[in-house]
Amino acid sequence: MDDQLADMVARLHPDAEGVDIADFAPIPGGFSRETFRFDATVRSASGTETLPMILRKDPPDAVAILQTSRLVEHELIEAIRANTSVPVARSYGAEMDPSVFGEAAMIIERAPGNGLTSDLFNGGRDEDQVDDVCGHLCEALVALHQADIATIDPNESLSDPRNVGVDVSSWDAYMDSTLEYYISAYDEVSYDPAVMVLLDSFLTLRRTKPRPLPLVPVHGDFNPANFLYADGKVTALIDWENSRVGDPREDLGWMMMMDTLSNTSVMAHPADKGGFLGYYNELTGLDITVEEIGYFILFGTANIAVPVQSAIKRRQAGEHRELLHLYLLQPSAHGLAGMGQLMGYPGMV
């Protein structure tokens, strides 16, 4: 692995006379990609530089939960870095030839900052920073949502990254085509009738659409575990693989749900601005309501439930023997019950 990494880092640094790889080790956590940390020491005529890096690699197709492109993620990160104030870790490049690392992969900067964001909450060691960090996180989200789509996505790779027929020509077209995708995908995700709450949620979402808002670039997995921070500031928003053009309330809804599941309280900060949503509304003037967020919690849950349940179904169909996809039945049971709760199923509190 060290040789392949050294070759790729050398390709990304044309003036390099030599590259040494050290301390290659897996980073635990995360289900959708395999990630490894390493240091690359690049020797060139101008001197020697050691770069902290991360290799982010796709799992095999049959095992993958989200089928996304590392090249698209690389180009998006670099476009965001060049054109917005959103803090992101630099992406050095993508290697799409699976023969190099076993599967498609990308190399990104190992950004500085604490990734253990639970330190900000519940009496954690950085609780004094929570208002500043969450305020900055909100500003970063607003900067992303206010970025010009054509500038950061000139190839329209984010319009329909799953290639499932999503139409972003208008808000209504986006919602209708996305919901049609969910509904038509139900047969692919239903490994047992016990998951029928998904179908109920897709149909309910179609019947109860909220007011339209302009479409924006959304992060797609905006949650309390997907940022780093230091000294009261967000140093990087991470994990951009589910980014796409969408409704800004999707990111807020996903954060609100994951905030609850993670036992964090991002949405309660910055406290002096009325919390995350209050500050977001102050910065954008969108006046998004908690009820609207509720709709997009369900919408976002459906968005992630389709690939997750589909992965469980592929395991059940015998396409592979990974235990992860059977383990996912446990959080999935929690998620299905949560969807019933979001739709106000009788007796669910």
Binding site: F31, D192, Q316, L336
Partner: protein, 169 residues
């Protein structure tokens, strides 16, 4: 409760994971290797026991009761403290009621699946009715949801182990 994957499917998956992911990576520790292999064997035993456990327990129960009744006849008027103790047990345990044979699990699971698919197919029809303005469609949907609510709460209580997700920090 899911019809699929079944409890047997889940245990089989763990057996495969031990063989595919753990055994090849346990290094040179003979105890670790043996423990992993024994874990596979125990789990395979659990799979086999689960298939017949309810039926065998019922059979054992009824055969034990029958044995007590027969032993009382066998001893007849035999004398002595030991004979008295056996007769006392035979009187007590021979009077225990027999239990019925458990229902055919495969047949129950097949019907469970069929009922589930029928409810699943009802959802788009109710959606069509609601969108057409038929208020009774919503009432029927509420009935279906009331069933699902109880079911999901039972399922979540049965399957969830601890809080959070392994591998998510």
């Amino acid at each position: 409760m899911n019809s699929s994957p079944s409890i047997d499917n889940l245990i089989e998956g763990v057996i495969h994971a031990i063989g595919d992911e753990l055994l090849p990576n346990l290094g040179d520790s003979p105890k670790a290797q043996a423990t992993a292999a024994m874990a596979q064997s125990v789990l395979q035993g659990v799979r086999q026991m689960l298939e017949v456990a309810d039926q065998n327990i019922a059979l054992d129960h009824n055969e034990m009761v029958a044995a007590f009744r027969q032993m009382a006849d066998d001893l007849g008027e035999a004398e002595g403290d030991a004979a008295d103790r056996v007769r006392e047990r035979c009187a007590q345990y021979g009077a225990v009621a027999e239990v019925p044979a458990p229902p055919d699990r495969e047949a129950i699971m097949a019907t469970h699946l069929e009922l589930g698919h029928a409810l699943e197919a009802t959802l788009p029809d109710l959606d069509e009715l609601i969108r057409a303005g038929e208020e009774r469609g919503q009432t029927a949907l509420d009935t279906l949801r009331a069933h699902l609510a109880q079911r999901y709460q039972r399922d979540a209580a049965a399957i969830i182990v601890g809080e959070g997700m392994i591998g998510r920090g």
